[in-house]
């Protein structure tokens, strides 16, 4: 029943997850935290990549990122949910739920209108969060450390465990994203990006596919929010601020829409540059990232992923 290419993709995904888990064993603590951030931010950008494959870009993924984060945080503080995996699911589904009402509206817009509408939605949420004192207003609030499979997570191994959690969750989602990208709807998505009119005349609903992409991206954004929250132990309205959304788009453009793995490479590079610039050249990290993006756009217009996707294309492999 399972198609061969799905098995191949799953095997590749499992292999990469195992590899990342192994690498985690030898990583220093600071790098573990940084990689966890790269993964949990990367999954949000992966959602944008899914949208990009359908020809639209969201400048407001901070909306679902914050929705997932806040929902998880509230579930932890008020409902006593502490299991990390459950929190991830809550984040994903809460964000999806928040995004659902907007999907029919957004799927009618393209280009700058889509981007601006998503941005507007995220900034409305930001405004609400800042003004809501019960949620800590602009300071946000703290969340206690989650548990994993009923076990308390000890301080000394929390970075490592949360890294492992992020690798598995994000790895599974990225594999599913690859399967989706290679699927029937994934291919139609790419055709929509290029020629919406034709797709409609061939009998497929364009807005339906864009809406689906938006929902998938929302789920990923929510999961990213939940993972980030667990690592930071704190949430504030900046999750929904436009600069946060901008960084997600930045990584998506850096990665290009051909490779799912490239998103995490891009996300990792951003985190590395950010933390080193912060350390050695305070307040210049945007400058460094800007230059880096210029170089990528000039020399790799199709993103980091084109470094290895183009070579594999003739063989039919695209992981």
């Amino acid at each position: 029943m399972m198609d061969e290419s799905i098995i191949k993709t799953s095997r590749m995904g499992a292999l990469l997850i195992a590899l990342f888990l192994l690498v985690g064993l030898v990583m220093p603590k600071w790098l573990l935290f940084l990689s966890t951030m790269a993964l949990s931010h990367g999954i949000v950008s992966l959602g944008i990549v899914i949208l990009m494959r359908g020809g639209v870009v969201s400048f407001g993924q901070g909306f679902v990122f914050a929705a997932g984060g806040y929902a998880t945080a509230l579930a932890s503080n008020h409902l006593g949910v502490t299991d990390a995996l459950l929190m991830v699911l809550i984040g994903g589904f809460a964000a999806t739920l928040c995004a659902l009402p907007f999907a029919p509206l957004l799927s009618r817009y393209r280009g700058i209108f889509f981007a601006m509408l998503t941005l507007a939605i995220s900034m409305v949420l930001y405004g609400i969060l800042v003004k809501t004192q019960t949620l800590g207003g602009s300071d946000g609030f703290n969340v206690s450390r989650p548990t994993l499979f009923g076990q308390e997570i000890a301080t000394e191994e929390s970075n490592w465990l949360l890294y492992n959690l992020a690798v598995v969750v994000v790895g599974v989602l990225a594999t599913l994203a690859r399967i989706y990208a290679d699927s029937v709807r994934g291919l139609v998505s790419m055709a929509i990006r290029e020629n919406e009119l034709r797709v409609e005349y061939l009998g497929a609903s364009v807005s339906n596919t864009i809406g689906t992409n938006f929902i998938i991206a929302a789920f990923m954004g929510g999961v990213g929010g939940a993972l980030t929250l667990m690592s930071l132990g704190h949430i504030d309205p900046n999750f929904s601020y436009w600069t946060t959304s901008g960084e997600f788009v930045f990584v998506a453009i850096l990665a290009g829409h051909h490779s799912m793995l490239a998103v995490f490479v891009g996300s990792f590079v951003v985190e590395i540059v950010r933390s080193f610039s912060n350390l050695y050249f305070p307040n210049t990290w945007q400058l460094a990232m800007g230059l880096f993006l210029l170089v990528v756009i000039r020399f790799l217009p199709r993103g980091l992923g084109s470094l290895w996707i183009d070579r594999n294309r003739n063989k039919g492999g695209e992981q």
Binding site: D3, S5, I6, I179, Y180, D182, S183, V184, R185, G186, L187, V188, M190, A191, R193, E194, N195, L197, R198, V199, E200, Y201, L202, G203, A204, S205, N208, T209, T212, G316
Partner: protein, 259 residues
Amino acid sequence: MTNFQVSTVLSARGVHKSFGAVTAAEDINIDILAGQRVSLIGSNGAGKTTFVNMVTGYLKPDAGTIELNGKTIVGLGPRQISALGIARSFQIPQLALEMTALDNMLVAAACNDGPLSVWRPAHSPARIERAEALLEKFDLIAHINRRVAELPGGVRKLLDIAMALTGEPKLLLLDEPTSGVSVDEKFPMMDTISTALSSEVVTVLFVEHDMDIVTNYSDRVIAFYSGRVIADDKPDTVLDNDEVQLYVTGSAKQGHSTC
């Protein structure tokens, strides 16, 4: 043939359409029978494209009915009409340029296969086989793995038609299949299209400006002028019609012109 009753595929009754003061369709009555190869001729602004656009759901007639196999299609969008079995190709090929010819065909197949699966691979052996078979018919198999952006215009036009044919439509509308193609290439191209279409059970309606092509490749011609049908018969009869010669072909006697 034992079946003498030929069914009507498309039936337009009293169709009207105007854009402000301009009447683009006035009391159009057309019945297209199964298996016919019908050309629509007429000068620019005569109402051919308006008719095609109403049949494909891009425009809604102001009055009148259009039925496909007895089911009304007025008020339906291009997507629903396509699902009922009307496919079209475009004067300017509408393709995904950055994708390969095969992927374009697979998109067409996917769109015709009902709900779009979010996990079934687009590149399934069965779909690829189907796409290859159709590309073979259109002599396009050599270009299968090339990006459409690299392909010459004539090849793109054929690919556009092959895509339209993927869903095994009941009625196929070809919008100027040979426009933008050099004179030398027109006939070979029409031969390819004609051969490819002959193996499919499909009724074809095509908009064409080249009267040689019209005479050679259609068994019925409908001439439009100023939103009205001024002639509807066998090619020779229509091209001999005085009104057609005056308004459409622009020739006083012999109807051989390429406008």
